[in-house]
């Protein structure tokens, strides 16, 4: 093995932090599987018009409730079967992945941005401002998230946009708390005091010096936030409070399909499976990231 002896003789530089984190992450097979599934989903969402065999709203009047291809009576042109008005389920699921990922991206971006801002303010200013922000977050945490989201949607009216806003508000306290805790831990460290002595302004301290060192828990929370957002949006859609039919949103599809549960198992099975796989993938990746980024758990 010439390569081994070569690497043994070569002086080894310490691996870059990114590479080290990647190695920890990749050693976790579940996390890697999650990443692959997410990659496939992103691909399907981005190239939906080319990947999907049919358009999401195209109705095949001659093929209502066709079972999946492997079942009796299945047709090769509808791999996962069709719904009650002859729409191809696979195509709708592929287009639905666009919505679910969009929900994830928007909710996480909104809540992360607002959460970081509030958390930084609470962590830097302390005192009355901090008390006000944190008490408000405690109130929000005291309510079950789905109930709060339902209340907000009841105010704003049912739609996918309002559902996203509601979920972003509901998950906000987690980001605020994490940011504040990390900021408070960082600001007592020497490098922050040193740069303050050197004359760094408040904004520079907040965003350039302190925030990058608080990112690890936030990245983990944001990844897990994707799964919460997708699950809650689907739940709201299922309750009729999120995306409205005929949008191919997975939760809405399930609500539509409920009445056919006795006759056509495939219309209820596949949308839910899509939700489960997506949420599971983000949870696996989030767990893997936590293990990789948390120095306490590193061996």
């Amino acid at each position: 093995m010439s390569t081994t002896s070569e690497s043994l003789t070569r002086p080894t530089a310490p691996p870059s932090p990114w590479l080290e984190n990647w190695r920890h992450f990749a050693a976790n097979r579940g996390a890697l599987a999650g990443l692959i599934v997410i990659g496939l989903l992103v691909f399907a969402a981005l190239f939906a018009p080319w990947v999907a065999p049919h358009a999401p709203h195209e109705q095949f009047r001659d093929a209502l409730l066709v079972p999946p291809v492997w079942a009796d009576g299945g047709q090769a042109r509808f791999l996962l079967g069709t719904d009650d008005i002859g729409r191809d389920i696979l195509s709708r699921l592929i287009y639905g992945s666009q919505l679910s990922l969009l929900v994830g991206v928007i909710v996480v971006t909104l809540s992360l941005a607002a959460g970081i801002a509030l958390g930084l303010v609470a962590g830097f200013f302390r005192g009355a401002v901090e008390t006000l922000i944190m008490r408000l977050m405690d109130i929000m945490l005291a309510l079950p998230s789905l109930l709060l989201a339902i209340a907000i949607v009841a105010i704003l009216g049912p739609s996918l946009t309002n559902a996203m806003v509601a979920i972003a508000i509901v998950v906000l306290p987690h980001y605020v708390r994490l940011t504040r805790a990390a900021v408070i831990a960082e600001t007592t460290k020497d490098y922050v005091i040193a740069s303050q002595v050197a004359g760094a302004g408040l904004l520079r301290q907040m965003f350039v010096n302190v925030l990058p060192n608080c990112m690890a828990p936030l990245i983990v929370q944001a990844t897990l936030g994707f799964s919460t957002a997708i699950l809650d949006a689907a739940a709201l859609g299922f309750l009729g409070l999120g995306a409205q039919p005929p949008t191919p949103e997975w939760g809405t599809m399930l609500a539509d399909a409920r009445q056919f549960i006795q006759r056509a198992w495939w219309v209820v099975t596949f949308p839910g499976l899509a939700i489960l796989i997506t949420v599971l993938a983000f949870n696996l990746m989030g767990d893997g990231l936590r293990d990789a980024l948390d120095p306490k758990l590193k061996r």
Partner: protein, 336 residues
């Protein structure tokens, strides 16, 4: 301990005010004013509209309206349902026992399975059993429970015909409500057939509602157990020659239970929200289904009162959990 209770109760007040603000805002932020809402699609003539606005105080400044609202809430007046013309509070408490019954069974299901499975996974750390438990519980944790409910209905109700699809008891039975808990009432009435019918109706919804708490409890028990097993006092207990059973179930479990109890309590709150989905799917006549029906009927006084009451129940449960926590863990009670 009294100081601890007082401090904990004191923390509830700002939370309660926040919730009332939310409930108050709910009915004022929706498009159209409350009088138009009451009048419905028939419309109302402007003079009568103005008179009613004045009569209900909707023309006064917002802070006065809020003060009035708080006053009413504290007297137990949560308004009248638009669809049934019944006081919202009465409606809520008629339906609440159904939700309690469902939640109790779901939690029992979650604890009875989650606890032993978590302990065993911790003891057999790294084994196939451990990996299976972790995999299954992560799946359970990621489960969209409304879909899980449909799958179980598909299997047990549609395919096997073992359980009914919806409701609380077969229509053939009429049981005088005493406690509001169907299983207790049927037994009180001495009607065994009705009892079995109620039990059959309860099984699937309870499993569905208990799934996520089950996953969380199993994971939490496992990790708490693994922490404790590493402690020195466990090694001492082993070295003394105590049996493994005794070390695990008596010495280790006692300390491992503290975080688990907290999680169980927190899950109770989550469960009330989960009940909204479960009850809607199984047409379970509890407060969750009522809340969603009220939203769909645009019955805003019911939505407003319902959200306030569910939030109050969750806060109460969380308070009880905190107090229990202080009771079993002296370190919490005496801190600060």
């Amino acid at each position: 301990m009294i100081l601890f209770i007082l401090r904990r109760v004191g923390l509830l007040i700002p939370t309660f005010i926040g919730v009332t603000l939310l409930a108050f805002a709910l009915i004022r932020l929706i498009p159209g004013d409350p009088i138009e809402l009451l009048a419905g699609e028939r419309g109302i003539d402007p003079a009568r509209h103005a008179a009613l606005m004045a009569q209900f105080g909707f023309d006064r400044p917002l802070w006065q309206q809020y003060g009035h609202y708080i006053g009413q809430v504290l007297q137990g007046d949560l308004g009248t349902s638009l669809s049934t013309r019944q006081p919202v509070l009465d409606e809520f408490f008629t339906l609440f026992p159904a939700t309690v019954e469902l939640s109790l069974f779901a939690m029992a299901f979650a604890i009875v399975i989650g606890l032993p499975v978590g302990i065993l996974a911790a003891v057999k750390r790294g084994s196939v059993f451990d990996h299976t438990v972790m995999g299954v519980s992560l799946t359970g944790y990621s489960m969209p429970i409304f879909w899980w409910a449909l799958l179980l209905i598909l299997l047990f109700s549609v395919q096997l015909g073992w359980t009914p699809v919806s409701g609380r008891i077969a229509v053939a039975y009429f049981v005088e409500p005493v406690t509001g808990l169907m299983l207790v009432d049927t037994l009180l009435a001495g009607d065994t057939d009705a009892f079995w019918s109620a039990l059959h109706h309860l099984v699937l919804p309870a499993i569905v509602l208990g799934t996520i708490p089950l996953a969380v409890i199993a994971r939490m028990t496992r990790s708490a157990m693994m922490e404790v097993i590493r402690e020195d006092y466990i090694r001492v207990a082993r070295a003394k020659g105590l049996s493994t059973m005794r070390v695990i179930l008596v010495h280790a479990l006692r300390n491992a239970l503290i975080p688990v109890v907290t999680v169980i309590g927190l899950q109770t709150g989550v469960m009330l929200a989960g009940a909204i989905l479960t009850e809607t799917i199984f047409a379970w006549p509890g407060v969750g289904k009522w809340l969603i029906d009220s939203i769909n009927r645009r019955d805003y006084p019911s939505v407003q009162g319902g959200i306030l009451l569910v939030a109050a129940v969750v806060m109460l449960v969380n308070l009880l959990v905190d107090l229990t926590y202080g009771l079993i863990n002296p370190r919490i009670r005496h801190s600060k």
